[in-house]
């Protein structure tokens, strides 16, 4: 029989609905997959007992005719979402032992829709990283390996554990959060679909904050349809997040299967980088051809400030992080390192509790916000952000979507980039502009690199037009016919 762990969310939902499968059976198969895949270091906390109880409750609800949109579907939750009474670490030492007494809105929405939590997925510390290597709990490992090479590769980041979980057939879907590319880049590295909603679609309440004007929860799944299903269950207005969008959640799944005939797809020349590998350029060209063959009109566009997005991001995000992370002081939760006095206790706790990358960003943030430098750095960056957002608005007056590669390379080996912060930051060069402008974007697996690793194509849409984005993403998915899966080397040891 087809392994239950190979089902998509859509297939599992249909089989559950037809009574061919129970949530308990589906969950047991995935609990086994979780145990078999421990070599991938996907989970910081496994919650099998929680999952078994949730699955039994789900079957009972279905028996009463109360099935939700994610009824009985086992998922991983990025360990940045607070989950009631379940350890929540943000991948950091400083949140040691933190058991939130409350549930994030997005996870509460998922449980209301019937989803089942298998565990809390690994991530870069406070979501700061593009390889999962800054996690205090060690890196999650990408299930993919280069052809003929057994070295461990990074799953991307920061939602690395989430991406590995879905790609390795350990969960059917996973939540992620995207600040500058933290859903889309790991999805590309792991050969799956990763989607960042319009800023405001998903509530940030109960999500450990990194950079509040950029953070946005979203789903990682194996298909575009699954992305639409899971996103629909996560999204919605939340009075507890003042930036949450007060507008209805459409039926995103209904956008799948529509034609792209007549849609105008912009191809920005500034996303063609010097030294970009040929296989990324080839993938982009094949994506352009796929959209054209499907009836879309390809339009050359220009987004002249693209190159300034990444350096502007590395002012705005650290500035917000330095402010958000000031709450970790050893008083109310998490780690406390004793000191001679209060200030010494703060300083020792934060020095021991935060890893090197988080400390670097907190210091950059404190500097760019400090007296005398605020205008030169922070204000300057927010002005550049205005230019970037206006530039997108201008091109979207004439086109429907933008097509680019998701990342400038395929997955790299552990340690390959961890000594050079700027080389690591460049992973997000194609994803950060949409983040700065708050726009929705999706990464779809569309091909393999010359050494056999998955590569993603990236669609950016105007604010709140996720539906057109899903329509085009499904067409890309169909045309690309990406059906490669990683060898399950971890199961045989």
């Amino acid at each position: 029989m087809t392994e239950l762990t190979d089902l998509t969310i859509g297939e599992a939902r249909d089989r559950l609905a037809q009574g061919e499968l129970s949530a308990v059976e589906l969950t047991e198969a995935h609990i086994e997959a979780v145990e078999e895949a421990r070599a991938l270091n996907i989970f910081i906390t496994e919650t099998p007992e929680h999952a078994r109880a949730a699955a039994a409750a789900s079957d009972a609800r279905r028996g009463r005719g109360e099935a939700g949109a994610m009824e009985g579907i086992p998922v991983a939750i990025k360990d940045l979402f607070c989950t009631t009474d379940v350890l929540t670490t943000a991948g950091s030492h400083i949140l040691d032992g933190f058991h939130p007494p409350y549930e994030s809105t997005v996870t509460a929405n998922l449980w209301r829709a019937g989803a089942v939590m298998l565990g809390k997925a690994n991530l870069d510390e406070f979501a700061m990283g593009s390889s999962n290597e800054t996690s205090y709990h060690g890196p999650a490992i990408n299930p993919w390996r280069r052809a003929g090479d057994n070295r461990s590769l990074v799953p991307g980041g920061s939602s690395g554990g989430s991406a590995s979980a879905v790609a390795a057939r350990v969960t059917l879907g996973a939540t992620g959060t995207d600040t500058g590319g933290s859903i889309r880049q790991p999805a590309a590295f792991a050969g799956i679909v990763g989607m960042k909603p319009t800023y405001g679609r998903c509530s940030r309440w109960g999500v450990v904050a990194f950079a509040s004007s950029l953070d946005q929860p979203g789903p990682l799944t194996r298909t575009v349809r699954d992305s639409a299903i899971m996103f629909g269950a996560m999204a919605g207005h939340d009075p507890k997040d003042s930036t949450s969008a007060d507008r209805p959640v459409p039926d995103f799944e209904a956008a799948i299967g529509k034609s792209v005939r007549g849609l105008k797809i912009g191809v920005p020349k500034e996303y063609r980088l010097d030294g970009m590998p040929d296989d990324i350029e080839d993938l982009w060209q094949s994506g352009i051809a796929m959209m054209r063959d499907a009836g879309a009109e390809i339009v050359d566009i220009s987004l002249p400030h693209t190159k300034y997005a990444l350096p502007a991001y590395y002012i705005v995000a650290p500035a917000e992080a330095s402010s958000n992370l000031s709450r970790y002081d050893g008083v109310r939760y998490g780690l406390r390192v004793p000191g001679e006095d209060l200030i010494d206790m703060y300083e020792r706790t934060r020095a021991e509790g935060f890893g090197a990358e988080v400390q670097r960003r907190v210091m950059i943030g404190a500097y760019v916000l400090s007296a005398g430098y605020y205008d030169a750095y922070y204000l300057k960056a927010q002005k550049i952000r205005t230019l970037i957002a206006e530039e997108f608005r201008r091109v979207f007056a004439d086109i429907d979507l933008i097509l680019t590669p998701t990342a400038p390379s395929a997955a790299f080996a552990l340690g390959e980039k961890s000594d050079d912060p700027i080389a690591m930051y460049l992973n997000d060069v194609f994803t950060v502009p949409a983040s700065l402008a708050g726009l929705p974007a999706i990464s779809v697996p569309a091909g393999l690199s010359t050494d056999g690793l998955p590569l993603g194509l990236h669609l950016i849409a105007p604010a709140f037009d996720e539906e057109t984005m899903f329509t085009a993403a499904a067409v890309l998915e169909d045309s690309a016919g990406f059906d490669s899966v990683p060898l399950q080397w971890w199961r045989t040891g």
Binding site: G97, P100, P101, Y102, T198, Y199, S213, L214, P239, S242, T243, A245, D246, K307, Y308, P311, A312, Y314, I315, S322, S326, D329, G330, V331, R332, Y333, G334, R336, P338, G339, D341, L342, I343, D344, M345, E347, R348, R350, A351, F354, Q359, R360, V362, M363, I364, A366, Y367, S370, Y377, K380, Q382, K383, R385, T386, L387, A389, I422, L436, G438, A463
Partner: protein
């Protein structure tokens, strides 16, 4: 502009991070690399540009200034490293 050890020490104090003396120089180099890369923003003329204040077009909602939650001291204290009755305990601040 380039950060020296004294500036790094001051930033670390602002950020409430204990940094050992021998780490100041390497940290200055790391931060200077990043700030040097960020300097390219100065190529962009932003004189007549308004800084972004909200990433999506929306008006922040308002509500009555009244208590909507609370009265749960046990939950609030549950994760604290040290408590005494309904209080967080910190090292002595006033002699």
């Amino acid at each position: 502009m380039s950060l020296d050890k004294a500036t790094v020490r001051r930033i670390a104090q602002l950020a409430r991070l204990r940094v050992d003396e021998e780490r100041l120089a390497p940290l200055a180099e790391e931060l200077n690399n990043i700030l040097g890369w960020i300097e390219q923003l100065n190529e962009v003329d932003t004189d007549d540009v308004a800084p972004m204040t909200s990433v999506v077009d929306m008006t922040l909602p308002r509500r009555r200034d009244e208590v909507t939650d609370g009265d749960r001291p046990d939950q609030i204290l549950a994760n604290a490293p040290e408590t005494d009755g309904p209080f967080f305990v910190v090292p002595k601040v006033v002699e």
